[in-house]
Structures are given as C-alpha cells and as structure tokens.
Amino acid sequence: MDIFLQQIINGLVLGSIYALVALGYTMVYGILGLINFAHGEIVMIGAMISLAAIQAMTGFALPGPVIVLMGLLIAIPACMLLGYGIERVAYRPLRRAPRLAPLITAIGVSIVLQNIAMIIWGRQYIAFPPLLPEDTYTIAGASITLLQIFIFLLATAIMAGLIFLVQKTRLGRTMRATAQNPEVAGLMGVNVNNVISSTFIIGSALAAVAGLMVSAYYGLAHYYMGFLLGLKAFSAAVLGGIGNLGGAMLGGLLLGVIESLGAGYIGPLTGGVLGSHYQDVFAFFVLILVLIFRPSGLLGERTSERP
C-alpha cells in the first residue's frame, strides 16, 4: 500500500509540472488554434536564465529561498520578452498563411532556441545548487518532500489565478472573445493583436515558473530538457481538452499518475513482457487514443473545426 501511495504522490507532483506547462499550450491554442511548439523551449530558457542568475548570486550571503526567488524574478520578464518576440517575429506574419506554415516555423523556432541555448550554456547538464530545504515527511510509509508539496500547491494556485483572470477580468473577456472569433472581436473594439501578445506573455511567464520548478525539483537544467517535457505537456493538454484551463490541470495530473503507475506496475501486470522501458510510450498512446475517440478531450466542448 505504501508503494502504491508513493506512486500516486510521484505522479501528482510530476503531473502538476506537466499541468503548469500544459496551461501555456492550452492558452495559445485556445486563442490562435496554433500548437506553439516552442513553448517547451521557453520553459528550458526560463530554467537556464534563472539558474544562471542563481549561480551568480550564490556568492552573496542570502538565504537560499530568497536567491531562488530572485532568480525567478529575473527569468520571468526575460521569458515574457522572449514569448512576445517569438509571436511577433515568427507567428504574426503567418497568421493568414496556409496552416502548414506557422507549424513549420514553430518547429524551426524550437530548434533555434534549443541550439542557441546549447551554444550559450553548453551541452553539459548544469547542477542546481542546494539552496532549498530538503525536508522529507513520511505519510503512511510514503515519503514526500517540502519541495514536492510546494510544487503541487503552487501549480494549483497559478491555475486558480489564471481561471480568475480569464473569467472575471476585462483582459480575460477579450481573450475569450478573440478565441471565439477574432474578426468579430476586432469589430467589437478588441485589439486582437494586443490580446494575442498578452496571451503569449502570460504563457511565457508561466513557462519561466515551470522551468525553475523543474530544475529545482530534479536538481539540473539542460538545453534539451524542454522538448520531451513540452511534448508530454501537450499530450496532457489534449487529454484534458485543449483550450480548456481546468482541462490542462486535470490532464496534467492524470498523465503524471498514469506514467507513474504505468512505469511502476506494467512489468508485474504483463508478466515481464513489457517493462518500464515503455514509460515514454504511455503519453503518446494516451494522446493517440484521446485524439481518435474523444478529440475534444475530457473537459473540452465539442467544437466545429475552424478554418
């Protein structure tokens, strides 16, 4: 039982990271109908920048969490700027081009970001300095660290804040209007370009938070870290219903738990035929199954295809 509980905890923490990244995908997709392939890379850049800032500050006699917080405060505006820039340079000129065009630039941007990061920060894995408390609690035989609890709570809080923003604020209303029909929203006096830019900026800020969280949790950062994370987060967003904020959270948590339980129990369940080497396959299988049987995801509404 303690093993099972431990797997659930593992899955929920992993899932909240997926969820946080999935929010970024889902917001952009909801408004533009575009898979922002580069989102995973923005997470990576966020991790790299905050880590570089943290490393520069470790010389000062500040308490660990303060240094980490300051690293985050540097990474967030940097990522916002990056997200804004990507949208302006790579996506906006192609808004009316054939569907294939922005997808291909998105892949291109993602490759470019990865390789620039590699040239700047090298190919080595960068270690996250031990600045955060590593207290471990034991619940019914399963262990959970302070950082894990914090990650879970932070992801939930951010999601709640985001739902408030979209449902209750003026910006949120314009976002929803743009998502439904950009032309009509424009006619109603919504500055569509500004709304799209703000979506990218908010998504990128979340990416920075996610980046720092991932690198603190695993104790490292690497130029390639955003790619697989981005793919899985995207799968989570599709699972929950892309374009739906609550869906992203649900999808993320579910995918995390599926992966943990899958990797932990697939060996015994299949009598050793399959094993944990198929861990990365689960996300893709879930994605394919959802897309075939319920393309709108768990919480998504059935919408007609937009041209």
């Binding site: 034991t138 262990s143 490292l220 943990s260 899958g262 932990g264």
Partner: protein, 402 residues
C-alpha cells in the same frame, strides 16, 4: 547537381589550402612516411573526450618521431591523420573511407562502440589494422575481423568483474538493476546481471529508463518495494546524478554501483551529498599504479597544459603497440606487421597488454572507485583473469561501508 559540383570544387580548394600546411616537407631518400589514422568525436557532446584521445595518440607519435625509429632500413616519419566522426555511425563510415583513401598504415579509434563497429568493416576490407582505445562493446571483436583490436577491457569483462565485486566484496544478495537503454548501458547491465546470477546473487528488479530522462521516482518506488541491498545503474552521469539524488530522497538505503559512465566529477556535482558512498568502475589500473603512469601524466600535462580526461593513456599505448609490431616485423606494411600485432606482449602505461585470439585484452584489469567527501577515491582493483582474481587491496579498502 551543378550547385553541389561548384560547392565541392570550392571546398576542394579550401581543403588543399588547409591541408597544405600539414603535409610534411619533402622526404629524403632514406626516409619513409607512415600515416597513423585516428578518429573520434572532435565536436559535439563528447568533444572533450575525443580531443583527449587525439592528444594521447599525438603524444606517442611525436615521441616516436623524436626518438628516430628505423624500419626496413629507412628512417620512419610518423604522421597523424585525425578525423572527426561526430560519434555518429554514418559519419564514422564516411571518415573511415576518407582514412582508407589516404592509405593509412594503421588506425587508432574510434572512440565510441557505435562508430567503431560499422567502421571496422571498412578498415578490414582495406586491410588496415585497427586498435580501438575505448570501444567496449563485445561485438566489435566478435565479427571475425583479424584486423580489429582494443586496448581496453570490454563490457563483458567489465560486467563480469562488476558482478563479482557486488556479490563478493560488497556482499550484496538482493540486487536491483536499472539501465538507460543505450548500447553501452544495456550491454553493461546485461553482463552484470549474468555475473551476479553466476555468483549466487538474486536479481530482485530490472527497471529501465532512457538517456534523456530526469524523473526516476516511479521505477525507484517499484524497486523500493523489492528491498534490494544494492542498486546497479548502467548509464552515464547526466542520469546517474539525479537518479542518485532521488534514490536517497525516497529513503532507499541500498548501496549504489555503476560502470565507468559515472566515474566523473559531474556525477558528484549533480548528485550532491547523495553521492557519498557510491561506487563506480573504470577499466584499467589507476594511473598512480601504472608502471609509467605518473610519468605519462606529467608528460601529458606539460605538453597540453591540462589533465587527462579519460582514455588518453589507452590511446598512447595503442600507438606504441602498433609501432612495436612494425619494428618486430621490420615493415610498415599492414599485411606484414599484422601477424606481429597479434603476438603483442607490451608493458604500457595502462597495463601489460596481450591480445587473445579475437583481439580483446587477455587480462583486463578494472579498478573500483568510491565517492568519499565529494571525491572519487580508489577502492580496489580486480583483474579479469578468470579463477585467480588477483586482488590488489588498498588502504581505503579497509574502511568498508557501514
């Protein structure tokens, strides 16, 4: 096609300009040029290790040149032709063709097993003897190529000793294994598993990850349920570091053992304090214990103004073995000195080197290291000679883990 032609023409021009300066000036009548090929990833992730290999080869060649060797009545001038294979099998064969075209007399390389194996066919077809200083995949020498040798213990030998070490020296009974599903990690883990079983150990779990993963909690939790005394990881330090960290954070107290992939300062940096007490192995005898090890280290440092990374001593030995064989055969022709290469018995800086019928080392030694106070320290050295595993105990060995 036209464009590629033009491009290639301009490229030839560049090559001619660049290689012009490397070509040794005109040879005298009593001199002969002997080309030694070398290939390793000189760019990319493993560039630092590839460069280290190249430096080892270059040091040996320059020493031979300044010593003035006469073979077949002619003074021999050795020339190094070094190529970048980018650790990519496809590039490995392209580079191999390039070197075979240049009619090299012998080949030192490649660094990775993945490039060495497909390239060995090219060298074999061209009749060029090849010594790999660092490819450890057993298959390299199992293809039946008489031209293929290596100066390092292969994964079979390393895995066997790792298994012996785990069961006989660390006294582990219940053993869990994780590998990263790369040719290296999986190969080593398989050999380790065999060895553990033949030494009476029990494999309680066999789990897998990838060489890009950072989250190992799911498989570690599953392993925890099996209560192992020892956890073995076949893989490299980028995964080993966070893995080690998560092992301890999940409250798994088993001992930790791995192969040469974790024997790096990077592992300790990534794992932090969790790395204390972890074991890893490295083929060969520790440099301080090698017959001429310290002398070699000083020479290397004086020449390149940096420390040896990993395999340079094995490259250095490989070149010298080749030159010795040429001397004994009194010929630099591959077909003439190849039979002598087989009969090698050479005391190099890494060990006394003899080849078996396949081209593998006859008695490859493996040294075990342990993290203590944030540094790798020698624990003990095992020799792969079966039956009489001559144990070289060291001082640090007395302090067994609590």
């Amino acid at each position: 096609m036209k464009l590629s032609g033009r491009l290639s023409l301009s490229l030839t021009a560049i090559i001619l300009v660049l290689s012009g300066c490397k070509e040794p000036s005109l040879l005298k009548a009593d001199e002969q040029l002997v080309k030694i090929g070398h290939a390793a990833p000189l760019t990319g992730t493993q560039a630092h290790i590839g460069k280290d290999n190249e430096n080892g080869v270059r040091l040996a060649i320059e020493e031979a040149n300044s010593a003035g060797i006469t073979i077949g009545g002619k003074k021999i001038i050795f020339q190094l032709l070094s190529e970048d294979d980018q650790a990519d099998p496809k590039n490995g064969t392209i580079v191999a063709h390039k070197l075979a075209d240049a009619e090299i007399n012998g080949m030192i390389g490649h660094l990775n097993s993945g490039t060495t194996i497909p390239a060995s066919r090219v060298y074999h077809d061209a009749g060029i003897p090849q010594i790999s200083p660092s490819a450890t995949n057993p298959r390299y020498t199992q293809q039946g190529f008489k031209s293929a040798f290596r100066t390092m213990a292969n994964d079979e030998q390393q895995g066997r000793l790792l298994g012996q070490f785990a069961t006989k020296h660390l006294l582990a009974k219940r053993i869990a294994i994780i590998d990263d599903r790369t040719a290296y990690g999986q190969g080593l883990a398989d050999e380790f598993e065999k060895s553990v079983k033949s030494n009476g150990g029990i494999i309680v779990a066999r789990e897998f990850t990838t060489d890009k993963s950072t989250d190992f909690r799911a498989i570690l939790t599953a392993i925890k349920g099996n209560q192992p005394d020892l956890l073995f990881f076949g893989g490299m330090d980028p995964q080993g570091g966070p893995l080690m960290r998560q092992v301890r954070s999940l409250g798994i107290t088993a001992q930790f053992l791995s192969g040469d992939g974790l024997y790096t300062p990077e592992f300790i940096k990534l794992a932090g304090v969790s790395s204390e007490g972890a074991y890893s192995s490295l083929p060969g005898v520790p440099l301080e214990k090698m017959p001429n090890g310290l002398a070699f280290r000083d020479k290397y440092r004086a020449k390149y103004n940096r420390d040896i990374q990993l395999y340079a001593p094995f490259c250095y030995d490989a070149v010298n073995i080749m030159i010795e064989a040429m001397k004994r055969a009194d010929s630099v022709k591959p077909e003439k000195y190849l039979p002598e290469l087989v009969k090698t018995d050479y005391s190099g800086v890494t060990a006394r080197i003899m080849f078996d019928e396949r081209g593998d080392l006859k008695a490859g030694a493996i040294t075990f290291y342990r993290v203590r106070n944030g540094k790798w320290e020698v624990a003990e050295t095992l020799s792969s000679t079966p039956l009489q595993s001559s144990l070289t105990e060291t001082q640090s060995d007395k302090k067994k883990p609590e």
